[in-house]
């Protein structure tokens, strides 16, 4: 667990003006960093301006985002998933945001308990940690014990639901700039993000989903879920078993054997494959903070706040082209690309051809693991290939200049899920059997 003792935060900026000014401050800092580093590189030619600059900017951005908490932190988490989209330095800082943000005062936690149960935490549990042991993006986690049981108690920050919409409005220009997305695309997807974030603030719903998904997935080997306790849960409080285990980076640092890596990678793959193709609803938050790895090659999975229900129509189109024969069939392909809003009827003939080849190569690359019976995710070449496709200036220009969003918004969280899954499997350097329910 990360140590956040020395970061106790005294306030969360919560009014809109405060939050805006936070962002303005970051903007100013980032530009002054640029100036500073430009100057340094003039004086010292060996100075690696780009890297140092990215690192410093990432620090400033992280500082601001962690003070904002709530949805801004969530967006930071989402961006940190997309390693290819951001320079490495940003990614490392944002990965920090997955583990720690400054906590709220104990009297407020006690008050939240009083409101929900009419009792203070210590009147319910034998012990209750005075400080948060971990920060979730929209709440913080306290450790509690009762008898011989240890619990993780997640308490939501006040006013989170209210600030979701206004935060997103402010994150938008930053997302547009930092990630280099087209503003129209951002609008098109923002609504989806907003809905998902709002559903994450509903702990009643999370409790229901946690119980139902962990029940459905209980037969998958090498993964386990905490039990949930409705009697100690409310709209703002969620109580579950405390799971032992290490976060991804810590786990990898212990140098687990290839066998163990493969075993865990396999469990992860099976878990996601089952949800997407059997349940059609998926734990769409595969950031490393939600998995607790153990030495013996098993893994605990927590946090079902972000669950994407996959609509049938979207499912059919999205996975249709995973079958090679469909992807190679021009007629079928055109039909699906049009259904998916990848290509519009009124695009120019030239654009249509370019887009067709772009999306075809994208799908070919991304679905490659499915085309083999086993796949080695440690293969850097594979990930470089993905990065090269995303970095290709011509492709970026093509997408950026088009006046329409490309891709259905349901794809946002499904892509994110696969992206997160691939990225964790890559970090694990796992070689696994990529058998999928899809082909059954």
């Amino acid at each position: 667990m990360s140590d956040i003792k020395n970061k106790v935060q005294k306030s969360i900026p919560s009014t809109k003006t405060q939050r805006v000014s936070k962002f303005v401050k970051v903007g100013a800092k980032v530009s002054s960093n640029y100036l500073k580093h430009y100057a340094k590189s003039v004086i010292d030619s060996s100075y690696d301006r780009k890297k140092a600059l990215d690192e410093e900017n990432a620090n400033d951005v992280y500082e601001a985002l962690s003070e904002l908490k709530g949805s801004a932190l969530k967006v930071a988490q989402m961006m940190s998933m997309d390693k290819n989209m951001l320079p490495q330095a940003y990614t490392d800082q944002f990965q920090m945001s997955q583990y720690s943000a400054p906590p709220l005062s104990l009297p407020l936690v006690n008050k939240t308990f009083q409101k929900a149960f009419g009792k203070a935490p210590l009147e319910i549990f034998d012990t209750f940690s005075k400080e948060a042991v971990n920060a979730a993006s929209i709440g913080q986690v306290h450790q509690a014990t009762l008898g011989d049981k240890t619990f993780a108690v997640k308490v939501q920050y006040p006013g989170v639901a209210e600030s979701v919409s206004s935060d997103l409005k402010m994150v938008k220009p930053i997302a547009v700039r930092m990630v280099g997305l087209n503003e129209r695309d951002v609008d098109h997807y923002m609504e989806e993000v907003e809905n998902m974030l709002l559903s994450e603030t509903d702990y009643d719903l999370e409790l229901k989903r946690s119980i139902s998904i962990s029940e459905a997935c209980k037969d998958i080997s090498n993964i386990h879920f905490p039990s949930y306790y409705p009697e100690y849960s409310s709209k703002k409080i969620l109580t579950m078993d405390w799971l032992e285990g290490e976060h991804l980076n810590e786990f990898i640092a212990t140098n687990p054997s290839q066998e163990i890596r493969n075993q865990i990678g396999q469990a992860l793959w099976d878990f996601y494959d089952f949800q997407i193709h059997k349940m059609k609803e998926v734990h769409a938050d595969p950031h490393p903070g939600n998995f607790l790895f153990k030495e013996n090659g098993t893994m605990g999975i927590i946090d079902f706040g972000c669950v994407k229900v996959i609509p049938d129509l979207f499912y059919d189109n999205y996975f249709d082209l995973m079958k090679i024969e469909n992807l190679e069939n021009k007629e079928k392909r055109t039909q699906v690309f049009s259904n998916m809003n990848f290509i519009y009827e009124n695009d120019s003939l030239e654009d249509r051809e370019k887009l067709d080849s772009l999306f075809t190569s994208m799908i070919t690359i991304l679905s490659r693991p499915f085309q083999h019976s086993t796949f080695d995710f440690s293969d850097d070449n594979y990930f470089n290939e993905i990065a090269a496709l995303a970095d290709n200036k011509e492709n970026q220009k093509l997408l950026r200049n088009s006046k329409k969003p490309r891709g259905l918004r349901d794809g946002l969280y499904v892509n994110r899920t696969y992206f997160g899954l691939y990225s964790i499997l890559h970090d694990l350097k796992a070689e696994i059997s990529t058998k999928s329910y899809f082909f059954d």
């Binding site: 407020l108 008050k111 409101k115």
Partner: protein, 212 residues
């Protein structure tokens, strides 16, 4: 007496809620249930205003008691003790919101003397508790003991309390969550000022320069 005074307070609150005005006399508050204690009550409450003051007073006391009942209270810092009091007080206000809203907002102009009197009674109750908290903070060094200024710490928190009461009674956010936030923020601001900070170093430096 406490049983009876609770009843009479309740009867006062109900009167305001159902008539949307203050009762003119204590007599109109004596229901059948209280008939037996009539003489006692009339003696205790010569003025009907006293009941209203007593309700406010009781509210403040309840909040201090509830916060002291918090199992963590003993280990709380001054900052946390104040937070805890205000959170509990916000709950008190919420419980009888309509009454407090009425009582805080509607006063006939010629009742100003009553108001002044009420406010000084309440301030005393408040300071009796808060000064103790501040003093304990000075002993541990959490609160800076400053010449002349530290005498007014209690007053500053009293004005903060008035601000929070106003804010809470007009707060329309979901479950009054905004009140929670203003409590957290204003207590943090005040404690940042009370804690030893740069002004103390500046004062010491100025004093040194002046003396030498």
């Amino acid at each position: 007496m406490s049983e009876i005074s609770k009843k009479i307070e309740l009867s006062y609150i109900n009167f305001i809620l159902s008539h949307n005005k203050r009762p003119n006399s204590v007599n109109s508050l004596i229901s059948n249930e209280l008939e037996d204690n009539k003489r006692e009550i009339l003696e205790e409450y010569k003025e009907v205003n006293k009941i209203e003051t007593q309700i406010w007073e009781g509210g403040i006391m309840t909040a201090f008691q509830h916060s002291a009942n918090d199992p963590n209270y003993a280990e709380y810092t001054v900052r946390e003790k104040l937070l805890s009091f205000f959170y509990n007080y916000a709950e008190v206000l919420k419980k009888e919101e309509k009454f407090y809203e009425y009582s805080a907002n509607i006063h006939p102009i010629f009742e100003l003397s009553i108001l002044n009197e009420r406010s000084s009674v309440l301030k005393n109750v408040f300071l009796n508790n808060v000064n103790g908290i501040i003093k304990s903070g000075m002993e541990t060094g959490e609160v800076a003991d400053r010449f002349f200024i530290s005498d007014y710490y209690g007053d500053i928190i009293w004005y903060q309390a008035l601000l929070i009461i106003r804010y809470c009674l007009s707060d329309e956010s979901n479950e009054k969550e905004n009140t929670d936030e203003i409590i957290e923020k204003s207590v943090n601001l005040i404690m940042d000022l009370f804690e030893p900070n740069f002004t103390d170093s500046a004062f010491l430096l100025a004093k040194f320069l002046f003396q030498k």
